[in-house]
């Protein structure tokens, strides 16, 4: 039994404990309330009524400069040139808009966007999105027409068709594109000359070239071909094989049914298996994107690689290699590739949407567009122009070697569909997993892709019920 003093102590402790709890909960509730308030708009100027008319001034005072605005712009690390002072300082000098550039690795951006948008707080005025994420996070972006903003007509007409997908959904614009990537075949000229080989222009010739390179250099631990076959960025590579087989990953129906079990889709996986089993480093199954495969190419552990044009720039500039790039050789078509188009869009929580749009227009302007591949070095991965006219710019005529830039443009004239749609991520993850099952002989190519189709069917049905299908494919309107 407690005595009075102990009882008072207990009561006091209980009071402090619960009192502190109430204070914390109240503080948290207040913080949550204020965090959920809509972002304040620009300050409303106040006027006071004057009782007498002011004297007429003899000279007109200049209007006060507009208050400086700082916008938050979110960039992926591989577009870091666009986030650099070299690009942003001239923009600030010209427009008075300061840019707080936030840069993140591509592989963390998706999850960060999911959390940021779900929280509903202000984070960005201009936000990175590529085509698939645009449709995924559509609810959180503002269409330009709702903001009274228009895409410059000269830009619209000048865009490479694949880049239109990035900032649009079913034809409605939410931002502007700022980056484009398309995969090429890169070859090591010195090794080809030593082996007496020419750059292959068809799939059969490509396999013959692989065999010849294997005979010539295989004993030295050099592989004919390198590519990143790890899950996480396998799908864009797969698209190159698929399109080279004349295939498509979706049907031309309203639902955009995924046709990963078509004979072309299966043949593409079989081609990947052929390369992996015979002409690639077994470790390529653990190589993500173009990181290790690029290294293998630069250090001449591989004579050829499939990746974005940046590889030839780095190989030439930093490793003193002479590369010859080529269209990815197709089996049933001359060529086809994998691509990526990226944009910035305006979130609904943006404080300065019009200023953000100015930044987007600047990123898409001719000078910046041409500057993108020119900026490639070991610090800036660099992206590629979104405008057709940029590829004819004389400043790019001799980049890597004369004709290289035109080759990039030519590759983009073949099928490079990336199949952007709201359920892209889940479909992509399933297809990548099953391709790896096929590469590692857990399943046959046919078995793997049929299993993928079974897993994907209910996903597409749900997606169609919610979004109504009809996702755009630039290939439908391109000459072919």
């Amino acid at each position: 039994m407690k005595n009075l003093s102990e009882q008072k102590g207990t009561d006091r402790r209980r009071f402090l404990k619960y009192g502190a709890g109430v204070v914390v909960v109240a503080a948290a509730a207040a913080a949550g309330y204020y965090a959920l308030q809509p972002a304040p708009g620009p300050p409303t100027p106040t006027t006071t009524a004057a009782t007498t008319l002011p004297p007429t001034p003899t000279t007109t005072a200049p209007p006060p400069p507009p208050a400086p605005v700082t916008i938050n712009a979110y960039y992926p690390a591989h577009n870091n040139w666009l986030a650099s002072d070299a690009v942003l300082n001239p923009f600030t000098q010209k427009t008075g808009i300061k840019v707080n550039a936030i840069v993140d690795s591509f592989f963390v951006i998706h999850d960060k966007l999911a959390s940021t948008f779900a929280s509903g707080v202000y984070a960005y005025d201009a936000c990175y999105a590529w085509g698939a994420w645009m449709s995924e996070f559509l609810e959180f972006f503002q269409p330009l027409d709702a903001l009274g903003l228009e895409v410059p007509s000269d830009l619209k007409d000048d865009l490479i068709p694949w880049t239109r997908i990035a900032p649009t959904f079913k034809g409605r614009w939410y931002g502007l594109p700022n980056a484009f990537w398309v995969m090429l075949l890169h070859t090591n000229k010195k090794m080809f000359d030593e082996a007496g080989l020419e750059v292959p222009t068809s799939w059969d010739k490509f396999l013959e070239t692989c065999e010849a390179l294997k005979k010539k250099f295989g004993r030295d631990g050099v592989y004919p071909f390198a590519a990143g076959f790890q899950q996480g960025y396998l799908f864009p590579h797969y698209c190159a094989f698929l399109h080279g087989n004349g295939g498509s990953l979706w049907a031309n129906d309203a639902k955009r049914t995924v046709t990963c079990d078509s004979k072309e889709a299966i043949a593409a996986v079989e081609d990947m298996i052929t390369l992996y089993d015979n002409y690639m480093d077994p470790g390529a199954i653990e190589w993500i994107a173009g990181v290790q495969s690029g290294k293998a190419f630069y250090t001449e552990k591989a004579a050829m690689t499939l990746y974005y044009p940046w590889h030839s720039i780095v190989a030439t500039k930093y490793y003193n290699l002479t590369t010859v790039a080529a269209l990815w050789p197709g089996k049933k078509t001359r060529s086809g590739s994998g691509s990526a188009a990226e944009a910035m869009a305006i979130p609904k929580t943006a404080k300065y949407p019009k200023e953000a749009f100015e930044l987007m227009k600047y990123n898409a302007s001719a000078d910046i567009d041409v500057g993108k591949p020119l900026a490639a070095d070991d610090k800036y991965e660099s992206t590629w122009p979104i405008r057709k006219s940029s590829y004819d710019d004389p400043r790019l005529a001799n980049l890597v070697y004369p004709g290289f830039v035109k080759l990039v443009r030519e590759q983009a004239s073949y099928r490079c569909t990336r199949y952007e749609r709201p359920a892209y991520q889940k479909i992509n993850d399933i297809i990548e997993a099953e391709i790896v099952n096929a590469l590692k002989k857990v399943k046959t190519a046919e078995g793997a892709m049929k299993d993928a189709a079974d897993l994907i069917k209910p996903i597409v049905d749900d997606e169609y019920a919610k979004y109504g299908g009809g996702y755009e494919d630039p290939w439908d309107t391109m000459p072919h």
Binding site: G21, V24, V25, A28, H110, D111, A114, S115, F117, A118, G120, E136, F137, L138, E139, Q230, Q231, G232, D281, P282, G283, I285, E286, Q292, P422, Q425, K426, D429, E432, A433, E434, V436, N437, K440, V442, L455
Partner: protein, 270 residues
């Protein structure tokens, strides 16, 4: 503090499990037990459950004997024993992400030291893709997990060993019991309560494994290293289905609680 950081998230996520709730639009739609029933037909959930069970059992059944063995060695008197005991805690003290990156280099197919040694010693003709081979990836993760957590269990077992009355061990020696018999009839009975504790700890930590998966394999190759918590993360943040992701999280939690209760009940009946 508890209300804000524990009670509210628990209650809200439980609420989500009864709703179809996507991070695309943040609009909850009541589905009752629909999310729970969905797990029974979800091949990827079943794969994650199977693989988590395999990972947990293998870690427990290998880790506990290994830890006891290490503890027995460290309980003996030998030069450098103190240093050995200190070094034993280094794996446990290292951040999980550091361990993951370290092993991704050690076991790398192209330049990893393990493959280099295997090829140099003529044990293999070609490199082994530890994380790229569906038959090896999960076992490689078990190995990494064991490397990290077994030392801690060994230290706990060592402490238990040191609490065994020495006169009991001595009298067993006097009665002619050899080392194996002393271990089975004297040491092991004294260690039984500790084994129960370590089994629960090992099981719970293994059920919750996430960091080495997200850092090394990201669920691959194929779906081979999909584990329950990783799957919950993937469903929620990659596929934006927060309602279903919350459901998977709750199922893992329920499994963890049932697992702990079963072991405790087994201990009480013994």
């Amino acid at each position: 503090m508890i209300a804000v950081f524990i009670v509210f998230p628990l209650v809200y996520s439980l609420y989500l499990t009864f709703n179809s709730f996507s991070l695309r639009d943040l609009v909850p739609t009541f589905v009752g037990l629909g999310n729970y029933f969905k797990t029974a037909q979800d091949k990827l959930f079943i794969a994650a459950l199977t693989q988590t069970t395999y990972f947990t059992l293998l870690t427990m059944l290998t880790g506990i004997p290994l830890a006891i063995g290490l503890a027995l060695v460290l309980n003996e008197d030998f030069p450098g024993r103190t240093l050995a005991r200190v070094c034993l805690l280094i794996p446990w003290a290292m951040p999980p992400i550091t361990v993951a990156i370290m092993f991704s280099y050690i076991l790398n197919t192209s330049f990893g030291v393990v493959n280099f040694l295997l090829r140099s010693l003529g044990l293999t003709a070609t490199s082994i893709t530890f994380f790229g081979d569906p038959n090896l990836a999960l076992n490689s993760l078990v190995l990494i997990n064991l490397w990290k957590i077994t030392p801690l269990y060994a230290i706990i077992f060592l402490s238990a060993l040191q609490n065994i009355p020495s006169e009991v061990v001595e009298s067993a020696k006097v009665y002619g019991a050899n080392a194996v018999r002393r271990f089975t009839t004297v040491t092991l009975p004294y260690l039984r309560p500790t084994v129960v504790v370590i089994a629960i700890l090992s099981g719970l930590l293994s059920l919750q494994v996430f960091d080495i998966i997200i850092s090394i394999t990201n669920g691959g190759p194929g779906f081979k290293t999909y584990m329950l918590y990783f799957y919950a993360y993937k469903v929620t943040f990659d596929w934006l289905d927060a309602g279903y992701g919350a459901t998977v999280s709750y199922i893992v939690t329920a499994i963890s609680v049932i697992f702990a209760l079963l072991i405790l009940r087994y201990r009480r009946t013994r």
